[in-house]
């Protein structure tokens, strides 16, 4: 294929010898990155599970965690995952405007999720549960916080992608970015499901 002399140099964008489709490489690279992120979260989950008993006589999860706020957060994040999927669909139909609107909605939902999370943390700190309180709370804040940082990074990333699309339109390159971003966003959703069940439901129930 690569050696075939039939391909003229005007096609070298896709077929030049030794040149591989960059979107293809990026997508695979990103999948592997997600594998590493899965391992990171697994390590944090393992730490949380090992240390969940280490409340050191202080407040426990059941004492302070409130499930109601979490249900709203979950709803926001799950919906944002759905809207990011819709954005990708719009992208495949080359509907730039629709796609951007859906991305903005995704971002707003994500921001809402973060707002609730920050509020929850402030509430917990007010109730006397901080990073320094005990091993349980250290691992709680680190695990949930790491997910929160991922969501924050995702938001900034999305803003950069929207700006680039507005400037350059939909090219192979910007399309690739949206695809990868949406993959990331779904991944955060999946992690949240585990957080919800292992951290919140199992603690409170």
């Amino acid at each position: 294929m690569a050696q075939s002399p039939a391909h003229g140099s005007d096609h070298h964008d896709h077929h030049a010898a030794g040149h591989h489709d960059p979107q293809d490489l990026k997508l695979l690279g990103f999948w592997i990155f997600l594998v590493t992120d899965v391992i990171m979260f697994s390590t944090l989950f393992a730490t949380f599970i090992v240390l969940r008993g280490g409340t050191d006589g202080g407040p426990t999860g059941a004492d302070l965690l409130e499930i109601n706020g979490i249900i709203i957060s979950t709803f926001l994040l799950l919906t944002s995952s759905f809207t990011s999927g819709v954005a990708v669909l719009a992208m495949h139909q080359n509907k730039i405007k629709q796609m951007i609107i859906w991305l903005v909605i995704t971002g707003l939902l994500g921001a809402g999720f973060l707002y609730l999370e920050v509020n929850e943390f402030l509430h917990l700190i007010h109730e006397g549960a901080t990073l320094q309180t005990s091993a349980f709370w250290s691992s709680f804040f680190t695990l949930v916080g790491t997910h929160g940082v991922h969501v924050t990074v995702g938001l900034f990333w999305m803003i950069s992608i929207i700006i680039q699309i507005v400037r350059r339109g939909l090219t192979d390159d910007t399309k690739g970015k949206v695809t990868v971003f949406s993959l990331y966003w779904h991944f955060l959703d999946a992690v949240w499901i585990f957080l919800l069940s292992i951290v919140y439901l199992m603690e409170v129930m």
């Binding site: 393992a46 599970i49 090992v50 240390l51 008993g53 280490g54 050191d56 006589g57 202080g58 091993a135």
Partner: protein
């Protein structure tokens, strides 16, 4: 191979051989691990010898074959065969997958058996009474408490020969490891938990004891003598300890536990009740219970050890330390 190069090789080989021989002659037979003075160390030595023999079944032929092949198939030896395309043989590959597998299976069986046999928390079978010594790693010295006799020592222990000794270990310092090579293998001493190690000296003598896991600046000074004596001398020693002007109290312990560069051996004529338990639970708040890791009650049987170990993974085992 040129003459010059060959003489270089020969010189190198003879230098290595010479050094090795010197090393081996320089005191073979005096190495502590190879000269056990107690049943645990003796069994561990047996196991080491079994391992070496099993490994040698492969290692020795490999070393010989390496030499022979490299020598015979050197490019300058035109008499040797040359088969550049020959790169696969089911028979040969089956052999060298097979033999190591068989050896590892044998070794694995031996190891599993010995692992249960030599589980450090398992009491040594003996008609005589066990002596209990509680060991605390401090920065940078060892505190030994004899709860039954109500005495304590720093950096020295005396034990009766031919009687099993149960060491209960903890740390009021970073994690340490307690090792008396001539009597048997080591075990970690960790804060917030109590470990158990059973050893026994078969003959009287002074044995070398040491800290084996780095705990900070003057870790090198954490060595101690283990004096194994007859029962009568042991009783005399207890009496002598009881005459010591020093007493261990909660206050003097507080002072002792502060970091100090080097401590000379010392005897305490009395110890406060339950001080060891207080050290173990020092960092625990109300509600948390004492965790006995890798140990349990004095009359422990093999069964209860494996019951604990069925936690299957050491992380889970360690998590129970938090007593939830």
């Amino acid at each position: 191979m040129s003459k010059k190069r060959r003489s270089l090789v020969r010189a190198a080989f003879s230098a290595i051989t010479l050094v090795m021989t010197m090393l081996l002659l320089s005191g073979c037979g005096n190495y502590m691990v190879l000269n056990p003075k107690g049943p645990i160390a003796a069994q561990q030595l047996d196991l080491i010898i079994i391992t070496v023999i099993l490994c040698a079944i492969i290692i020795v032929p490999v070393l010989v074959i390496t030499f022979v092949i490299v020598w015979r198939y050197r490019a300058t030896n035109k008499k040797a065969d040359y088969k550049p395309e020959w790169a696969h043989s089911n028979l040969l590959e089956t052999i060298w997958w097979g033999i190591p597998i068989v050896i590892v299976i044998v070794l694995a069986i031996v190891t599993v058996r010995y692992t249960h046999e030599l589980e450090p928390s398992k009491a040594i079978a003996s008609e005589k009474d066990e002596v209990t010594i509680q060991v605390v790693s401090l920065n940078w010295k060892w505190l030994f408490i004899y709860p039954e006799e109500g005495i304590a020592t720093v950096n020295t222990i005396t034990i009766p020969e031919d009687r099993p000794v149960r060491f209960e270990l903890t740390a009021d310092s970073p994690m340490n490891s307690f090792w008396i090579p001539e009597l048997g293998g080591q075990i970690y001493a960790m804060s917030g938990m109590s470990m158990a190690l059973h050893l026994q000296a078969d003959e009287p003598g002074t044995y070398f004891g040491t800290a084996a896991n780095f705990t900070g600046e003057h870790f090198e000074n954490m060595t101690f003598d283990v004096n194994a004596t007859s029962d009568a001398e042991y009783d005399q020693w207890i009496e002598k300890a009881k005459q010591s002007p020093e007493t261990l109290t909660d206050e003097s312990y507080e002072e002792l536990s502060k970091p100090s560069e080097k401590e000379e051996p010392m005897l305490y004529s009395s110890v406060p009740d339950g001080i060891y338990e207080r050290i173990v639970t020092k960092y625990m708040h109300d509600g948390a219970e004492l965790h006995q890791h890798g140990s349990a009650s004095a009359d422990e049987t093999n069964g209860s050890t494996s019951a604990e170990a069925t936690n299957a993974n050491s992380e889970e085992a360690s998590s129970s330390h938090n007593g939830h």
